[in-house]
């Protein structure tokens, strides 16, 4: 029996698993022992990777919608030619930017790089990723505060902290392997800041029940009290940061006496929290979507970074302001998708980078993008307004996942050509397309992913491709050829070719991986970037900023802050409930297209959209467990949900798992000012019992 070590392509932990394969069939899956991320364990999703496309098969051949609206099977050549001619027609008729693509954090790095080459370098179109939905905030926060999108930590820091602060993060459900490591750290005081008594809040030593979207005010108040009590690391601030005096002046108005009114947390409890942070010798602060998905997300993330900077909790074991990434390759997308910056980082107007990238890719500099893509929300807006006529999405399901998701349906109705590339032909988005390009799952792919702690790990095909089966990489190449890219694809023939191109692009950048060989990633412990040519790995757990140097021109980290914004929508007498969303269970992944194949998950998955409501609310509205309610949102949409009565939400709050189309239908189109990440976590709603 063959044993293939590969990387799980669900969440950002990117655990390694061993596939035991016989006769091109996976006999069983076991988590890889000794792999630094998950050392012999994983979650139910990773353990069931072998189920991909077993219950829900994908067609091997593409399908094109005919004039009667019926999807008809065609050959790959026909599909590539249809794609190329239609896209070119649209561009000729309406202009280059009348076409766009939406990619994902679930492709391999080489794949997202290649689609960036075809779409951005050659076609000159806009193309964003669904990483905009989860990590864009952290990207911008890191760039502004640290000078580069470079998260400081290694996962081992969770085991080395003596104080762990989780803000808007629910790792018990969303990142169970990370929680397993935090749980193993028995000495650490674990603190959860969340409006909801989440599964993580219940397991922590302390829960601070902050009002929805008041986290930024809480962080500014913490900063002010730390300063007032002189519990700050003056030496670190002076030598390694910028903007502290302005920050100090700014936060002075966040008076502890007002904190309960502003955040819902009493003065005494806030002082307790400040003391815990002060007394910690190794404090780590971790955040994820509760922070990232907001109308003022970047500044909130930076308010957390500021706490780490002012207390000197960065660049040392057990510390850090640590953004936990969402998808398995969000980090790859952030650095190598050619959507918001060059491969390996660097802005499109950076002359030195333009020259370097053109040289590596052996392309005319003129062909490289001159500006970042327009963000996801503008792509959708332009589809609705009719400026974009052709849309190509891959490995994502925005009909369900996009915020205010009826707007995505509206967008598709105006398209002349909507292409969906996916491992399923029945996703809510795939059902709407004109051309379906069926790709193969990660089980048949090769390439690499980059996890939340910057660890590159190899995706190795456990199964061989059969006749007519193409991976996303193959499809991008096929499209490129049909478009007439010719010699522009010569350096991209295989994922390995792409890897070496990307590697060259990183030379001299903070994410320099010129010391990594493609084949060295196989059967390895992964490699955290950076690793420069000539360097060797002495430690499997490497964190950044240990030399206290950041990537800004001054090498100092920056305190970034601004006035807390008003909520774009306020609760009112008519809309008295605050609607919040998040992950439902460990086994449910995003819009459930993949995890519906796992029996153990399906057995316990509630099929209809549901919400948690407080027992007092249930009593007031005369609701019993499993009753149906209509929730009407301030965004104008109303949907039905099943009631689950729970003390985890407060009386004026409602929590809805994000995996259902009904949930995202209720959320309004609000975005962070800087990252353009959607604000998935807050909208005022009203409820009515369905009679």
């Amino acid at each position: 029996m063959k044993v293939v070590q590969s990387t799980c392509n669900y969440c950002s932990l990117s655990c390694n698993v061993n596939f035991h394969v016989e006769d091109n069939k996976i006999k069983f899956v076991e988590p890889t022992k000794g792999y630094p991320v998950n050392d012999g364990f994983c979650c139910i999703k990773g353990l069931n990777l072998d189920k991909q496309n077993t219950k829900y098969k994908n067609p091997t051949l593409p399908k094109l919608r005919d004039e009667n609206g019926v999807m008809q099977e065609i050959s790959w050549d026909e599909a590539f030619n249809a794609f190329a001619s239609k896209i070119k027609d649209i561009q000729n008729k309406y202009g280059k930017e009348s076409v766009a693509f939406i990619s994902t954090g679930q492709l391999t790095t080489e794949e997202m790089a290649l689609v960036g080459h075809v779409g951005r370098n050659y076609l000159g179109i806009n193309g964003d990723g669904n990483t905009r939905l989860c990590m864009a905030t952290s990207v911008v926060a890191h760039k502004q505060s640290f000078g580069f999108d470079a998260p400081p930590y290694t996962l081992n820091d969770a085991e080395l902290s003596d104080v762990i602060v989780l803000i808007g993060a629910n790792p018990v459900v969303a990142h169970p392997i990370l929680w397993g490591r935090m749980r193993k750290n028995k000495k650490a005081i674990k603190i959860c800041i969340d409006p909801r008594k989440s599964e993580t809040a219940m397991q922590c030593d302390k829960w601070y029940d902050v009002k929805p979207k008041a986290d930024i005010k809480l962080m500014y108040t913490l900063a002010n009290v730390l300063i007032q009590k002189d519990w700050i690391n003056k030496d670190f601030i002076e030598k390694h940061t910028e903007g502290f005096d302005e920050f100090k002046n700014f936060v002075s108005k966040f008076d502890i006496e007002n904190v309960e009114k502003e955040t819902g947390i009493s003065k005494e409890k806030v002082l307790e929290l400040v003391k815990l942070i002060h007394e910690g010798k190794r404090v780590s602060l971790w955040w994820t979507m509760g922070v990232n998905q907001s109308y003022q997300a970047v500044r909130t993330a930076q308010s957390i970074i500021n706490i780490a900077l002012m207390t000197g909790n960065i660049g040392k074991p057990g510390t850090g302001a640590n953004s936990i990434t969402g998808q398995c390759n969000a980090m790859g997308s952030r650095l190598f998708s050619n959507t918001t910056g060059f491969y390996g980082g660097g802005d499109y107007d950076n002359e030195a980078r333009r020259k370097r990238i053109a040289q590596v890719l052996e392309m005319d500099e003129e062909m490289l993008p001159t500006k970042p893509t327009i963000p996801y929300n503008q792509i959708i807006d332009k589809c609705i307004s009719g400026e974009i006529k052709g849309l190509w999405i891959m490995c994502t399901n925005p009909r369900s996942s996009w915020i205010n998701n009826e707007t995505f349906l509206k967008a598709t109705k105006n398209l002349e050509f909507f292409v969906v590339q996916d491992i399923y032909d029945d996703t809510d988005s795939a059902k709407l397309c004109h051309l379906l390009l069926p790709s193969q799952s990660g089980l048949k792919k090769e390439g690499f992913l980059i996890n939340t702690e910057r660890r590159m790990s190899a995706v190795i095909p456990a199964l061989s491709k059969e006749e007519n089966e193409l991976t996303d990489y193959d499809i991008f190449l096929g499209i490129g050829k049909a478009l007439g890219m010719g010699s522009l694809l010569d350096k991209w023939k295989t994922p390995k070719d792409a890897f070496y191109l990307l590697r060259e692009c990183t030379k001299g950048m903070p994410c320099d991986i010129t010391g990594v060989e493609y084949d060295d990633l196989k059967n390895s412990k992964g490699v955290q970037w950076p690793l420069k040519a000539g360097e060797s790995i002495n430690d499997d757990q490497r964190r950044l900023y240990e030399n206290n140097e950041f990537y800004t021109p001054s090498k100092k980290a920056k305190f970034m802050f601004e006035e807390p914004a008003e909520r774009p929508m306020q609760i009112s007498e008519e809309y008295p409930f605050e609607f919040n969303t998040g992950r439902g269970t460990v086994g449910q992944w995003h819009t459930q297209t993949r995890t519906r194949e796992i029996d153990a998950v399906e057995d316990i998955t509630i099929k209809e959209a549901y919400v948690n409501i407080n027992p007092e609310t249930a009593e007031e509205y005369k609701l019993q467990e499993n009753d149906k309610i209509t929730i009407t949102s301030m965004n104008g949409e109303a949907r039905e949900f099943i009631v689950k009565i729970s003390n985890t939400v407060k009386k004026n709050q409602i929590f809805a798992p994000m995996h259902y189309m009904n949930t995202n239908a209720l959320l309004p189109s609000y975005f962070d000012t800087y990252s353009k990440e959607p604000s998935y976590k807050y909208v005022p709603v009203k409820i009515q019992k369905v009679s």
């Binding site: 076991e30 364990f41 139910i44 018990v172 169970p176 397991q203 269970t585 460990v586 086994g587 689950k644």
Partner: protein, 138 residues
Amino acid sequence: MRRIKIDRKKCIGCLTCTTACIVAHGSKDTRTRIALSSEGKYAPIFCRNCDRPECVYACPTGAMSKDDESGLVVYDKSRCAVCYMCIMGCPYGVLKMDKETQSEVMKCDMCKHTESQYPNCVAKCPTGAITLEEVSEH
């Protein structure tokens, strides 16, 4: 004897116990599982190693037996006739055959074969919904 005790209220349906069970046994199948109750609540189903084990009473070959010392119900595959009597007899519906070969009863062995000799599901449960507790036989 020690028995795995379940607190349904603490179960969050994370399936860590199911994962732990499969990983500990290096198999494709779990020896425990979680179901949804008729009220839509998570209901972990684990072998109780019953004091009066119907699976043992039903077994015609002695493959299922009650170990007097540990109090556990022990399954001996080499004596199993694959007659399904234990599966039919189990009042909790916890016993199943392995999916692939349908020749081995997936019976909890409290992870006695592992290094820790401690139920991996209990060790890994993040919420304390399943615990190992001493119970007096009666």
